[in-house]
């Protein structure tokens, strides 16, 4: 069975984006870039899963020269990976290897989990994360906690019907003050 992980950077009060899609608070230092490059694993990338908003933001960046210049390994890994985007409104997707999923999010995810293929990583996409976490379909979380708080923003787990219990599996501190926390989700 394919595993589903969540990779996100968060403010220390749990937001993955501020008002107006603001993610300018995240520190993209050298260590963070190396970690992201290792995680993207361009030689054998995970499949990626998104909601439409995150997908469109990333699709407009990573295939471009700006994306390749910012982090070549991440760009290569993301461009090469199989991509799934949940959207009922998206008619077509220009980013290579993208499948648009129009069915029920939970059912489509269960089907993907049971089909052959690499493990799946969800980036951004708070509404997808909270729905799938609520149905116990997320296996692990990789969270980069920035040393910043925002008064308002979008919480990664907003709308989850109940709580999820976690187990800390690994942690690391970057020189920038970003704290990386890895959790597995208790079933």
């Amino acid at each position: 069975m394919r595993k589903i992980s969540v990779f996100n950077f968060l403010t220390l009060n749990g937001f993955f984006k501020g008002a107006h899609e603001d993610i300018s608070w995240h520190r993209h230092g050298g260590e963070e870039a190396d970690f992201a490059g290792d995680s993207a694993n361009p030689a054998q990338p995970n499949a990626l899963m998104f909601g439409r908003v995150t997908y469109e933001m990333m699709a407009s960046f990573w295939p471009t020269d700006a994306g390749k210049q910012m982090n070549p390994r991440v760009a290569e890994g993301m461009n090469r990976s199989e991509k799934y985007v949940f959207s009922r409104s998206l008619a077509s997707a220009g980013w290579e290897r993208t499948t648009i999923l129009k069915g029920d999010i939970v059912n489509e995810t269960i089907r993907l989990k049971e089909s052959p293929g690499p493990d799946i990583t969800i980036l951004g996409s708070g509404s997808i994360v909270s729905q799938l976490a609520g149905h116990r379909l997320i296996d692990s979380l990789t969270l980069m906690i920035d040393p910043v708080v925002l008064g308002s923003g979008a919480s990664l787990f907003a709308g989850m019907p109940g709580r999820i219990d976690l187990e800390l599996t690994k942690s690391q501190v970057f020189n920038s003050g970003v704290v990386l926390l890895n959790y597995s989700v208790m079933k």
Binding site: P147, V149, F157
Partner: protein, 210 residues
Amino acid sequence: MRKIKLQVQLSIDGFMADQQGNTDWMIWNYGPDWTWDKELRQYHTDLVGTTDCLFLSRQIVEEGFIPHWRKMANDTSNPQSGFARHLDNAHKVVFSKTLTTDDDIPGGWENVEVSQWDIRQQIFHLKQQEGGDILVYGGASFLSSLIQGGFIDEFHLLINPVALGKGLPIFNRLPGRKALHLLSTKTYDCGVTLMKYEAVREAMAISQAR
């Protein structure tokens, strides 16, 4: 100079309690059985040992904060009695516009005062005096207002291994973005992660932005 420190248990998504105010998801819910590992207990005991003054909300006083920790302090067979003794001995300042010392409060008024000033003046007054650090205890509303006012010098965030989805936040009254400086972080065997931050003063914020 004396520091004002906030130590608070949070979920990974930044809530100090669920929507109904429940905290049963915390590894240690401040109950009689201290379900933290030894190392985390030691950190907590050391932190409380640096204080000789507490800021309390009216609500937490009326809920019985003072007699609870006095009882713990007097129960010397309980490992919590060590830090509870410090809490009991500390001078306590209650912030309330309605409470007076003519009112009854659980535990009584010995070593407890109602602040005669607004919080900014109270802090200015206390920081002029020699003494230990100040710890703040209260509900989400009280803590939010202290954070909003920029009164906290050090944040000790104890992140429990749980995501709640919704609950009571403490940073929600900030108008925009606030950068903090990470002092240290430590993970404990019981599953709690301590992330310790200090407030960034203006000059420092500018140099970091460059």
